[in-house]
């Protein structure tokens, strides 16, 4: 017993050194060579950081493409999903309200056309992406608000659509922040 305890104590110290100190330091060191030195990739406009590439942002204004509903209101100090079950009556009411609000802001769009992810909260509350379909569906609204022809916007969404990994694996998606920055640039150029 005493022998085991002594070994345990010494071995624990060695392993703390190895697994909790040297290993993370090694990774942090290698991380210095990664984009933005392993601090998370940022997106800047004129040298001013406006966001993290991978962290979704809240877009409530009609002139921007919207992202998905978020349980943490896109404040990345924390992260969470809604954790609402599929049969929860309050949850179904929330979704119905989101559908109504989407229809009000997007005249000319029918209920059946709304992709489910635009009215359901993401897992992290920070989902940076929407599906290409969800971007296309908002073109009519943005064209109206910004006075840009619809084909121009359609082309913009298409250039910002990221195809599946290696062209084969997983879904296509659009990064909402990058799309909206490109949208702002489009107008400045005019």
């Amino acid at each position: 017993m005493k022998k085991n305890l002594l070994i345990s104590l010494k071995l624990t110290l060695v392993l703390i050194l190895l697994c909790s100190l040297l290993y993370p330091l090694l990774i942090a060191g290698i991380g210095k060579a990664a984009p933005n030195a392993g601090k998370g990739e940022t997106v800047s406009i004129n040298g001013k950081v406006v966001g993290y590439e991978k962290i979704g942002q809240k877009f409530a204004d009609d002139k921007y493409f919207w992202g998905r509903p978020s349980a943490v209101d896109y404040n990345a100090a924390g992260s969470a999903g809604s954790n609402k079950g599929p049969s929860n009556p309050d949850y179904l009411k929330t979704v119905a309200d989101r559908i109504d609000s989407f229809l009000v802001h997007n005249p000319g769009i029918k209920k059946e056309e709304i992709p489910a992810e635009m009215v359901t909260a993401s897992g992290s509350g920070l989902d940076p992406d929407i599906s290409p379909l969800s971007a296309m569906i908002q073109i009519k609204r943005i064209a109206m608000v910004r006075n840009i022809p619809e084909p121009t916007l359609k082309a913009l969404v298409e250039t910002h659509t990221e195809i599946p990994l290696a062209g084969m694996f997983g879904p296509s998606k659009v990064n909402v922040l990058k799309l909206n920055i490109a949208l702002d640039n489009l107008q400045q150029k005019k």
Binding site: L9, V50, S79, G81, K111, G123
Partner: protein
């Protein structure tokens, strides 16, 4: 949807391809044969020397367990004290507070036992110091404990008659130096270059394009996320676990994290075959486990792709499936695959929120954890399967009227009793404690705990019951995933799940080690035509049937009250 399906098939294929040679390699270093990692020999000898370990010492099953339990107890105390004093320790750039004693009790146990149930959110509940010195540390050593326990059992099975299960210390250390650490370094580097943070900078404050001011939590997460999956631990750096865009930035990292969490559980099965020189038995076990996995996976994917019937009724088409709680970059198929895998192999990390899955998928997740032996956790998966084998051997023996035997040893009353107790323990813990929780909600909703029982459940009715059942099932399976709507950071859940975690970790390890220790001591009976062949597919199906029957008998009533009832109410 096709691309999403191809992605999943590809992930499974790659895992299979990698796990076979890895299994061979594991068998070699367990056995002390030459491997390409022998350059680590001097380093390991150095560790033995300063820790006072005699690498040539042989241990019988009792000595083996004593060594294992002693060091585990030490880690528990160490982790607990660091967590309750974390606010006074360095590396706390976000100024996070200390954990309450009951939360620290739960967290320390949870990570010690390789479960990683989290009653806190990583962004606020821990400091960088405790993330690394408690969480990451325990993720390494708990996985290595499981692997060493398996190696001990294999040593017992390998020899005809032996007292010797090997040396716990050397098996344990080698599991880290030869397996967990090298694999983690590779995975962590890949994560870092795909956008997972690795620096020690604290929260950042930014003004968004629209003009909101928000904060972004960060930290040296990549190192921890790698071992979290390699060691089938599952506890996340961030609250949303691998649904968080920094913890799992894109489809490639999703594949990576998915592959590395199944890698060791699968490789262990092959290692088992190579090490005890019964490759056919390993193949049969692997086949049965894969069939079991598919039985859980296929209904999950179908119901997630179909979407939520309640939303369908509202007139919403769901071309991308049931997206509540899921991320666009993964899609529903990869999320469904993840949810199945993470529940059968006891990782418990998530890339989507299990609370928002369809009832059919919840049922599959719960079954995966209740059975807990389709691949199973790092090392312990096979130990759980071994218990089912012992029971299957016993029942088949009764059916054909022969003395049950396993690998040339008579299986007698004592071994069967241990196996039966280990099996019954799950049913007792899960149902007993769920009943207690349901009783508190129904009859004492206003007790002044930090979260009142009336506020525990995030969803009413059947789904609320599922949340409680899930929590104890997850604790009992040492899984760690949760239906996270449950308000679980209060003294009731912290203490009760803590107790379940401890019992459900160590008894299912002690049980098989003891069984094998006892079996290995007996006289070896050479195989004859009259021997029940445990490496035949017939016996494999027998084991599968035993698994289904035991779990159906144990859990069907509870499942009927939760996901099954919800399923029918949604139709």
């Amino acid at each position: 949807m096709t691309n999403e399906l191809i992605g999943v098939v590809f992930m499974f294929g790659i895992t299979l391809l990698l796990s076979y040679p890895l299994g061979k390699y594991i068998a070699k270093f367990f056995n002390g044969e030459k491997t390409f990692t022998d350059f680590l020999n001097p380093f390991e000898r150095f560790i033995y020397r300063i820790s006072g370990i005699d690498p040539n010492e042989k241990m019988n099953w009792k000595q083996f367990l004593k060594a294992m339990l002693t060091i585990n107890l030490l880690w528990l105390v160490y982790a607990f004290f660091l967590l309750i004093f974390q606010d006074k320790l360095p590396l706390n750039p976000d100024g996070n507070a200390a954990q309450s004693p009951d939360l620290a009790f739960n967290t320390a146990i949870s990570f010690l036992v390789n479960c990683n149930l989290q009653h806190y959110s990583g962004e606020t509940g821990l400091t960088y110091f405790t993330q690394l010195f408690v969480i990451t540390f325990l993720q390494f050593v708990s996985a290595a404990t499981g692997i060493a326990a398996l190696a001990g059992v294999l040593n017992g099975l390998k020899e005809k008659t032996t007292e010797n299960l090997g040396n716990f210390w050397t098996l344990f250390i080698k599991s880290i130096t030869r397996l967990l650490l090298p694999l983690s370094i590779i995975a962590a580097v890949l994560l870092v270059f795909n956008g997972t943070p690795s620096s020690f900078d604290g929260k950042d404050t930014i003004t968004t394009l629209q003009g909101d001011t928000v904060q972004v939590s960060r930290g040296p997460a990549a190192a921890m996320i790698a071992i979290k999956h390699i060691g089938t631990n599952g506890g996340g750096w961030f609250g949303a676990n691998s649904a968080h865009p920094l913890e799992n930035p894109n489809y490639f990292t999703n594949m990576l994290e998915m592959i590395i969490q199944v890698l060791l559980p699968m490789a262990m099965i092959f290692a088992f075959g190579f090490y005890i020189k019964r490759k056919k038995l390993a193949r049969v076990i692997f086949g049965i486990m894969t069939i079991g996995m598919l039985c859980l996976l296929i209904p999950t994917i179908i119901s997630e792709v179909y979407g939520n019937p309640a939303l369908q009724k509202m007139g919403l088409l769901q071309p991308t499936g049931a997206m509540e709680g899921k991320e666009v970059r993964f899609g529903v198929v990869a999320s469904g695959y993840w949810s199945t895998v993470t529940t059968i192999i006891s990782t418990g990390s998530v890339n989507s929120m299990h609370d928002s899955f369809m009832p059919m998928s919840n049922l599959m997740q719960l079954l995966g954890m209740m059975i807990n032996a389709f691949y199973g956790g790092c090392g312990v998966g096979i130990l759980n399967y071994l218990i089912y084998i012992i029971i299957a051997v016993f029942i088949s023996g009764l059916m054909v009227g022969r003395t049950p035997e396993f690998m040339g040893h008579k299986v007698e009353a004592r071994e069967v009793k241990i196996a039966a107790l280990v099996t019954l323990l799950s049913a007792f813990l899960v149902k007993g404690f769920t009943a207690l929780a349901a009783y508190m909600v129904a009859h004492h909703p206003d007790i002044a705990w930090s979260v009142k029982p009336s506020a525990w459940l995030n969803n009413p009715s059947y789904h609320g019951f599922s949340e409680m059942l899930y929590e104890f099932t997850s604790a009992n399976a040492n899984n760690g995933s949760g239906m996270e709507g449950l308000g679980d950071n209060n003294i009731f859940w912290n203490i009760t799940t803590g107790i379940v975690l401890l019992l459900a970790r160590f008894i299912p390890i002690i049980g098989p080690v003891a069984i094998v220790g006892l079996l290995a001591n007996k006289k070896h009976i050479p195989e004859s035509p009259g021997t029940l062949r445990t490496d035949s597919w017939t016996f494999g199906m027998m084991t599968f049937a035993v698994i289904i029957v035991i779990n159906a008998l144990s859990f069907f009533p509870a499942l009927a009250l939760g996901p099954i009832a919800e399923y029918f109410s949604l139709k």
